[in-house]
């Protein structure tokens, strides 16, 4: 198992390099001159040239890419923001906890709502419980989450004045961003849970469990749900990965100082090093979450576990 994890971590390296190249290239071709943006409209041609020189923007594509690679992977430095002139790594380190907290709370909330809803729908297939909860879930996946966020702001902040509309100063601030993200996630998880449970509850071993005299509750939650978990875990992992990349829209609505707002403002300001640095961090997080998902698979399903062990055995023999 640990061998497998190490292997997976090693496999992430080319992916990370690939992402670095891809984002670098995207930014390279993005129109707009950062020097011009930093200095403003009334800078002289010479000032701009000097700034370009200072930022290292005058080199060729390959030179600049090489410099960037060395800076990041050899010196371990994500660089300095063009606009704010501070360390990108520090800024990300300061913002990431906010993004992480919101992501984690939303995912937990989504699972708490979505999983039982999906199970209930599957167990009561084609009854009003199923139809009702699935219609709700369909609403959930169809609703623009930022629109729902705005509606919450209108009702809960502006009219009822129950919750603060922006910032992250108290626990109350987390409610609306997390709920707005969790709704769509919960709906997706409920739909996935239902369809994967429906596959499982038709299996013979579920009848076997019933034939043993097991209670319906344990047949559902012990025998069926545990077998239905794999696609659900994938879905949850995906949601977590995406949210760790910054709930871009939700963060900007609620002015959350997280990774999402950082990236959006950087994209708008042509702050290349910030975009590159944050996307890199996002890609690493995403890769780690996917690895985590695969490890959780192994705990959920002994067949997958034994595959890993087999690989290990084969590797040992070789």
């Amino acid at each position: 198992m640990s061998r497998y994890i190490v292997k997976r971590l090693l496999m992430m390296i080319p992916v990370i390099l690939g992402v670095t190249w891809f984002v670098f290239t995207l930014m390279y071709f993005t129109p707009g001159d950062p020097a011009q943006i930093i200095l403003g409209a009334d800078a002289t041609e010479q000032e701009i040239q000097e700034k370009r020189e200072e930022l290292g923007l005058n080199g060729s594509y390959l030179e600049r890419f090489g410099t960037y690679l060395k800076q990041v992977f050899v010196d371990g430095d994500l660089g300095t923001s063009y606009i704010y002139n501070n360390s990108i790594a520090d800024e990300i380190a300061a913002r990431f906890p906010n993004t992480f907290k919101i992501a984690a709370i939303s995912v937990v909330l989504a699972v708490i709502i979505g999983l039982p809803l999906g199970v209930m729908a599957a167990v009561n297939q084609n009854t009003w419980k199923d139809n009702g909860s699935m219609f709700l879930a369909l609403f959930g996946v169809s609703m623009p989450s930022f629109w729902f966020a705005l509606m919450m702001v209108i009702v809960l902040s502006l009219h009822l004045k129950l919750l603060p509309a922006t910032g992250l100063d108290s626990w109350k601030c987390y409610i609306m961003p997390c709920v707005s993200i969790a709704i769509g996630g919960a709906a997706g998880i409920a739909r996935q849970t239902r369809s994967s449970m429906l596959e499982v509850i038709r299996q013979d071993y579920i009848t076997t469990a019933r034939a043993k005299g097991q209670t319906e509750f344990l047949v559902t939650y012990k025998h069926a749900l545990r077998n239905a978990l794999i696609p659900i875990i994938t879905q949850v992992g995906n949601m977590l990965g995406i949210q760790l990349g910054g709930a871009i829209v939700a963060e900007s609505i609620f002015s959350v100082p997280g990774l999402g707002t950082y990236m959006v403002s950087a994209i708008k300001n042509r702050d290349y090093p910030v975009v590159q640095g944050s996307v890199l961090v996002v890609a690493i997080c995403f890769g780690l979450v996917m690895l985590l998902v695969d490890i959780v698979f192994a705990f959920a399903d002994p067949r997958i576990r034994s595959q890993y062990q087999k690989k290990k055995k084969v590797a040992k023999e070789a």
């Binding site: 469990a209 034939a211 043993k212 067949r303």
Partner: protein, 328 residues
Amino acid sequence: MSETKQTDNLVSVRDLVVEFTTDGSVVHAVNGVSFDINKGETLGLVGETGAGKTTIAKAILGILPDPPAKVRNGSITFEGQDLLSLPEKEMRKVRGKRISMIFQDPMTALNPIFTVGDQIAEAILLHEKMSKAESEKRAVDMLELVGIPGERCKEYPHQFSGGMKQRVVIAMALACNPELLLADEPTTALDVTIQAQVLEMMANLKEKLNTSVLMITHDLGIVAEMCDKVAVIYAGEIVEIGLAEDIFDRATHPYTKGLFGSLPSLKSHEKRLHPITGMVPDPTNLPEGCKFSPRCKYADEGCRCQAIPLHDLGNGHLVRCRKEGGEK
């Protein structure tokens, strides 16, 4: 059934009717089936795929999926208790403890994410007053009883072969010494050599534990080997029932005869088998009168217009044919 055996009666099924409703059409899966099984006796339930055999077994155990399945009529009496009117909570105490079931396909009957030991122990824990450790010990004993080394109890189903899995299923079914075992084609999915082993093992265990068995099969060889009585079922109806030797020696219903006729025999010199021509009737639209009449070479107008009652040939041998197999 003769009166003297009444006291030995373990389970009696009367006029059982089961229907499945899907998308507005009604599948008549079981249409008025009655039979008895005495203590220690094995009844073979023989018929084609889709004849309703598994449905009968599931109805006895109360595990028919509802919806779509519904028991429309009839009674199932087990040791004087009507199982159909038993509350779910009481029924759970019967399931797995006093009546248990072996499923057709061992490859899918075991839960892939629990160890086989846990799956056997689960049945024991549910019904016996035992600690977890004791139930595990008993699970190991059960595995050994069916010829699997006890130390394999920590392994998962995917680590077992098909025959081994079926042994595990059998161990699970027998774990609480059930009075009635419903064996749904227990060997169909297995290789012929493994089949023989499993059957022999079942016969031995049955002898040892004095369990009654409802043996569902379409294999007449198994019936000959294992069963005391035989019920031949066609389109959800019993068409012929009686002691095994009566059925084998004096098969009367054209369908039963057809079943024997479609078996290859080494003794006779016939060059061809005699398959039963035609198709199993559509269970949503069963023919009126004798349900076998569209495929029966003896059938006439009389067979097609009225329901045919079971006819007593003596010695508990009943047949649902007004011509008694075309002889009259």
